[in-house]
Subunit: 331 residues, 2 copies
Amino acid sequence: MPELRKDPVVGRWVIISTERARRPTDFHRDPVRAHGDRCVFCEGNEDKTPPEILAGRGDSPPNGPGWSFRVVPNKFPALRIEGDLEPTGEGLFDRMNGVGAHEVVIETPNHHGSLATMSVDEVADVLVAFRDRLSDLKKSPRFEYVLVFKNRGEAAGASLEHPHSQLIATPIIPIMVSEELEGSARYWKMKERCVWCDIIHQERRERRRVILERDGFIAIAPFAPRFPFESWILPIKHRSAFEELEVDETRHLAALLVEFFRRLSTTLNEPPFNFMLHTAPLRETGLEYFHWHLEIIPKLANVAGFEWGSGFFINPMPPETAAAALRGEAE
Amino acid sequence: MPELRKDPVVGRWVIISTERARRPTDFHRDPVRAHGDRCVFCEGNEDKTPPEILAGRGDSPPNGPGWSFRVVPNKFPALRIEGDLEPTGEGLFDRMNGVGAHEVVIETPNHHGSLATMSVDEVADVLVAFRDRLSDLKKSPRFEYVLVFKNRGEAAGASLEHPHSQLIATPIIPIMVSEELEGSARYWKMKERCVWCDIIHQERRERRRVILERDGFIAIAPFAPRFPFESWILPIKHRSAFEELEVDETRHLAALLVEFFRRLSTTLNEPPFNFMLHTAPLRETGLEYFHWHLEIIPKLANVAGFEWGSGFFINPMPPETAAAALRGEAE
């Protein structure tokens, strides 16, 4: 059973994923697995994954070919779906069982596809899959949060090349989400306005950090980005929970995403990247002070000791320059 | 002038290091520069660095050969020594000038040396250099903190191979240090004991996560490590400020460090790693609730979207197993 452990000083939880444990000598970088018969996510290899939870299919039967996307449990889950938390102390330390869900969204049967080349309909389907899994996992009272994320490219932590994203449901609200919630609530208390709405308002007025805007969604380079070309995508209207997205909105968001990733790929030559969806906790929808958003971070350099030790990030790329480049302008 | 910018939601500062700014097309991974005439840190190439601030020398004149270690300003500093902070607002955003110090400690003239192979005396000299630079930078009222850190190997963010560490003095206490200070103060308020002293006490009693202990210093695998083989080194007696280290203590700490890095190199085949020194802020020495410590994180895998989005780290290596391996036992 994986274990959740809490740092007694800063209160940060980690997942000690014992079932993935390796011998000390096994720690080397895993190569990204290639295309072909051996790709477990390709069409025809459905038996290589656990049975699907959700899929885009016409008449084809489950767990065989003939799909546009599939959602399956992660074969090597960081957390386990069965069991109780059983929180216990060990002297001054706190631990609990690593209970949660870990799923993979196989975004397309096309091994060589990407968010930059998929059709708007295909990407909209993936967004609907995210939404439906969020709504479904919300029914389990054991989960407090679902983090949807994507690792693309080896430098971004992907171990498989085939286009996919993931979600992990956790029994605790992750510390980074808590910090955003607390910061947003603090701002609301002071101003009675959503800080994210205020950011969008200011960015739309100033334009310098706006990358792209269409049909109710906006992509911006944030004022204080940790990474070169870090970008945020938000609904322009106030919305705290991603799963409240309506069907026509998923198409609008998909269109913006495809355009964004097309520009990112062109500007940076298909960079490795991560994205992470920050939405309201499962039990706290309809928050007036929080605003869901997607954070995209290209992986262009290794994070080093100063960042790990300080939490200060050194970013050589001003967001105004990054936004201009992604708009297709030389600033 | 580099700029410090604050995220309006979570309050995290970043350094937009405009003087290092590159064109979008320039973002590729820098190769680690090799040995030979072209290594700017090798003996004989002293004119390739800015003039030294401090060095270990017998009779040799400054900025020429004949040294055991050198401290020089970073040629491409993340922050600039000149100027005032001039904090200003831009709508809801906050910024200030990127004022600070950025220095490099060249640890040995031996290009192929490492903390695992240097002599105890050589490492003790490096520790004295850290201490003396901390004490000296403390005299400037503009600085609140000095972070001492090391990047070893390309995967850990090093751009030069020659053994070196760095320090950055900042006008703000870094958020990660603040979080540790706050957590430690909270524990003190509850228990009137130093949480770090309590951790050391429990670890010494349980032994399972102790890697090494000698002459007043201890190396442990922390209970909730973010990374495989993450290790902390602390003085066993309560000490909040590194710069209060006495001369005989630097030798004891150096001996433990050499032994620790020897074991780390053997167990993981000279892994890339970072270390970060967490000591009390410059204006807050003699804290009863904080305890200085060195955090060492080998870079064995890429950090991925889940970690960046949640702050939850997934670690496949239980610290008990890591400590046993570093003790030379199979657990």
